[in-house]
């Protein structure tokens, strides 16, 4: 059995875990991150993409608001290329009138230093012509739109450069707990590679539980108690970028009151429903209906616009004691030192929080690690931009600009999202990719209106050619950081995503020692099913017509339902196969508490 020794082991490849591995590596700790699937497969890959200004929490949670605005200003520097500087409006719609919330909001912003200025409604409507003309007041704050996929890769990239080792598709089977002079110590973890089945033992001086909604389950392996209240939030992506500015309703935070422009689409969310398990998540018809109804209040005609996709994520809301109810449980970060809480040494849990504060959560965590390991090493993440940040913010047209500038029209694999062949090849070379879904997170493959109709076949064809030529480096699932340069942060960036650089991998290709599940037919089936999973809750109108065209292509033309190897499955096939088709309409259940 393979054994590894490290100082810090981080479990979980979401924003929190990637932040911790980055911070720990920058402070010179030998660090390993394990994630059971791809980076951002959990909640980080399923959020709005809102870079909070803090405005949302200005009234209800001033401390949280203050954290947000501080981190907002830091991330704009450290992760500039993962952020679009959209700005944000808090608007008072006719539904929101009649109380003094706007005054409290302004006072709250002022109190914690969130730049906030009221702008004339006419100016807001000039900037956002689709906005409800009946809004009465508009406040502008420095909200932004963030690409959580890119940010995780950029963060991890920075960690790798600093020596960290990232092991995706490695699942923790067991935490190793030893008794030492009457005290319990967590000394390591038994993990297995979900692709190859290989078992690995990782010994670590300290283990960080950053498993998000799954952190209760992980803590239990150490005999610790972490109560997470998984709160499902459903989001709906519209096919068009109906607004260019983040739009918030100026009222107490509630369901469906944020509309975030994200690349070529916009995303409305969310609901807030306590669920027994973080996975799998069904999207109920009332949730979709509610998002459309709420969207209508921000942008009249919203519910008639073409809907692209729906998904749900779970907020890992931490609670000390059960109080019931979802949105009122704290969203503050929770750093749990289990040596203090339960006398379990060498084990920390970091949970709660929000994407905007992931760096701060990591800082607090690694500060505590320093204490435990008896060393003083200052945090430098706030002043150390990750590689790629020098390119500055992305903007909605950056890909189109590059395609036109460099005349890459013939190289487009995904016309919806303007993914070029080179971007795809680079992504495969530079990131461990098991499925096309992993590449979707890297380069936005299949995220557009046709939801994989054209690019699925093309991507599979290209990957198959790379595989035949030995250019798809599967060994990267077992990579060690020092053998290659990581450049994932550049995948979506204006300057670097179009340069052909397929020699960056170690070139070993597929070897007999690294059994893989590479099979083009499986890739095709898995990705089409994965895309189907997210469209079925919102499949009607033009999107339904699009889906039928995809059937014409994949059934009538390709006959992929009668390809060989139909018995093959990947470690995520079952996840994709979860039934997301709408059930009968039932009204929203009443909230507890």
């Amino acid at each position: 059995m393979h054994k590894l020794q490290t100082e810090v082991l981080v479990i979980g490849g979401g924003a929190t875990g990637t932040g911790v591995v980055w911070d720990a590596a920058l402070r010179g700790f030998k660090t390993i991150l394990v994630e059971r699937r791809d980076l951002t497969h959990g909640t980080t890959g399923r959020f709005h993409g809102l870079l909070h200004s803090g405005g949302r929490y200005a009234v209800k949670d001033p401390h949280g608001a203050e954290e947000c605005i501080r981190e907002n200003q830091i991330l704009r520097k450290t992760h500039a290329h993962c952020i679009e500087d959209t700005s944000g409006f808090f608007v008072v719609t006719p539904e929101d009138e009649g109380d003094d919330y706007p005054e409290k909001f302004v006072a709250g912003c002022n109190a914690v230093g969130i730049p906030c200025s009221e702008i004339p409604v006419a100016e807001a409507l000039r900037r956002e012509p689709l906005l409800n003309p009946r809004i009465s007041r508009v406040f502008e704050v420095p909200d932004g739109s963030a690409d959580g996929f890119l940010a995780a890769h950029a963060t991890v990239n920075a960690a790798r450069v600093a020596g960290a080792q990232i092991m995706t598709y490695h699942e923790v089977d067991e935490l190793i707990v030893e008794e030492r002079s009457g005290e319990r110590h967590v000394v390591g973890a038994r993990v297995h590679n979900v692709v190859t089945g290989e078992h690995i033992v990782i010994y670590a001086d300290i283990i960080v539980n950053a498993a998000g909604a799954w952190s209760g389950k992980l803590a239990a392996m150490a005999g610790a108690e972490v109560v997470i209240l998984p709160s499902k939030g459903t989001m709906v992506a519209m096919n068009h970028r109906l607004v260019n500015t983040v739009i918030n309703r100026c009222k107490m935070p509630s369901d469906g009151d944020i509309l975030v422009p994200s690349h070529t689409v916009c995303i409305i969310g969310t609901t807030s429903v306590t669920v027994p398990n973080p996975e799998p998540l069904r999207i109920e018809p009332w949730e979709v209906q509610k998002m459309l109804d709420e969207g209508e209040k921000i942008v009249p005609g919203f519910s008639k616009a073409r809907v692209l996709r729906a998904w749900a994520g779970v907020r890992p809301l931490f609670q000390e004691t059960y109080t019931g109810g979802g949105r009122d449980v704290t969203r503050k970060l929770a750093l749990l030192d289990h040596s203090q809480r339960e006398g379990i040494k060498g084990f920390l849990t970091i949970t709660g929080g929000k994407w905007t504060t992931f760096r701060l959560m990591a800082e607090a965590t690694v500060d505590t690690i320093c204490e435990h390991l008896g060393t003083q090493r200052p945090c430098t993440t706030a002043t150390t931009p990750v590689p790629g940040a020098e390119q500055g913010n992305y903007w909605v047209g950056h890909r189109l600009h590059d395609v036109e500038e460099q005349r890459l029209q013939g190289d487009l694999i995904c016309e919806c999202e303007l993914v070029t062949r080179t971007m795809l090849e680079n992504a495969v070379q530079r990131n461990p990719a098991l499925t096309l879904d992993d590449l979707r997170r890297d380069v936005r493959l299949g995220k557009g209106p046709c939801q994989g109709g054209f690019c699925t076949y093309r991507a599979v064809g290209i990957l198959n050619e790379m595989e035949s030529a030995g250019n798809w480096n599967h060994d990267m699932l077992d990579e060690s950081a020092d053998t290659m340069q990581w450049n994932a942060a550049h995948l979506q960036s204006p300057a670097h995503n179009l340069t052909r650089d397929v020699t960056a991998g170690n070139g070993k290709g597929h070897s007999a020692e690294s059994p893989t599940v590479f099979n083009p037919n499986l890739l095709l089936r898995d990705f089409l099913q994965e895309r189907w999973k997210g469209v079925t809750p919102v499949l009607w109108g033009r999107q339904l017509k699009q889906e039928r065209l995809d059937e014409l292509i994949y059934l009538s033309l390709m006959n992929i339902d009668h390809l060989p190897d139909d018995e093959l499955a990947s470690p995520v096939t079952d996840f994709y196969n979860f039934d997301t088709t709408p059930g009968p309409f039932e009204p929203e259940p009443k909230k507890v508490g």
């Binding site: 018809p285 979709v288 209906q289 459309l292 519910s303 008639k304 809907v307 005349r407 890459l408 029209q409 013939g410 190289d411 487009l412 694999i413 062949r421 054209f454 076949y457 093309r458 599979v460 064809g461 198959n464 050619e465 083009p520 037919n521 089936r525 089409l528 099913q529 895309r531 189907w532 079925t536 919102v538 499949l539 009607w540 109108g541 339904l544 017509k545 039928r548 065209l549 059937e551 014409l552 292509i553 994949y554 059934l555 009538s556 033309l557 390709m558 006959n559 992929i560 339902d561 009668h562 390809l563 060989p564 190897d565 039934d579 997301t580 088709t581 709408p582 059930g583 009968p584 309409f585």
Partner: protein
Amino acid sequence: MLDLVVIGAGLSGLMAAYTAAQSGLTVRVINKGLGSMHWGAGTVDVLGYAPDAPEKPVQHPFTALANLVVQYPDHPYGLLSSDEIRAGLASFVALTEEIGLPYRGSAESDQNLFLPSPAGAARPVYLAPEAQSAGDLSRSEPMLIVGFKGMRDFFPDLIVQNLAKQGHQARSAFLPLSLVTDRIDANTVHLAEALDDLERRTRLGHELKKLVKIGERIGLPAILGMNDHSVVIADLERLSGVPVFEIPTLPPSVPGIRLYKALRSRLLELGVRIEAGMEVVSAEMTARHNGTPGSIQSVISATSARPYKHRAHNYLLATGGILGGGFNSDHTGHVWETIFDLPLTVPQDRSMWFASGFLSPTGHPIFHGGVVVNDVFQPVDGGKLIFSNLWVAGNILANADPILERSLEGSAIVTGIAAGKAIANL
């Protein structure tokens, strides 16, 4: 006043227009966009997979059809006798000969051809353009599948590997795309048009000759000429010395566009006007009343300039269901026929629209529904005629999922012809 206005320029609409015009009717075709011909393989599928045995391809389509209509009497094929279906397909074959784009079937009657798909699966097809028929997987010559480096809609390795897994002998080879085009943004249509050029196809022919071994046949993406297709194929076969065949590509479908263009020219010769870009937005009609069917007085199309009123004695709706845009739907679960609001058998409830998997062998119920017609293809509601002068044909018909069962073109052709005949026989 016209005898017939056909709404929709897919295969069913054009075949209906052709049939009616040949019988001497004055016909106009108006269409919003293009039919599924432009997106598919350009072949004619009659029945590839029977609904009760979706995993096994149909070998003998007419035998299977006979069973199908016994099992599912409401199936659109059930509106026609086996002889009518055969005759319809035969007249389509004759028409393709006439327009210089001959379609071929298996040498044996009542036998599906099996042709390689762009993914390397075996497609059960009843008729194929001559250029695809040499890909017949029952033939023994090994295949050399040739692609173009950088072409994004065709992947020879994928085809070859999957064909090999199914026991077919095939290998792949690549040529530079610059052999065919200088464009940086070439799609399949551009490539096909480029090969209409004598010099380019001659160069290609010489390169193929260098690649091929004696006894092989060459499979290429379906880009072998647009307007001079048959000459391009002949030249490539002569220069390479072996049979050459096309494998369909991702859309746009060059074989489909060739068929559309050829049918369109023939219709123009017959005096049928085809008015593209005209979406029908409303209709003047009277509803069924006191046991008397309603009737259509006109359909009104939107153009960039002004609304346009089309009047005819008869109207044929061939707008192609959900795929063609003949049906629309919304988030409340409502599905409707967009012009005449004809009753549909589609469940008006989103929770009943889909099976759980994209590739569910049962298909999705929403795509199985459509317009119910009587035996002369006139829409009925509870058995009662809705409009005295409205007919429907093609993918809009209820009780079949033509994409799932691979009957899309066959069903469009035979129902289009049958509806055209019914109108001509009035």
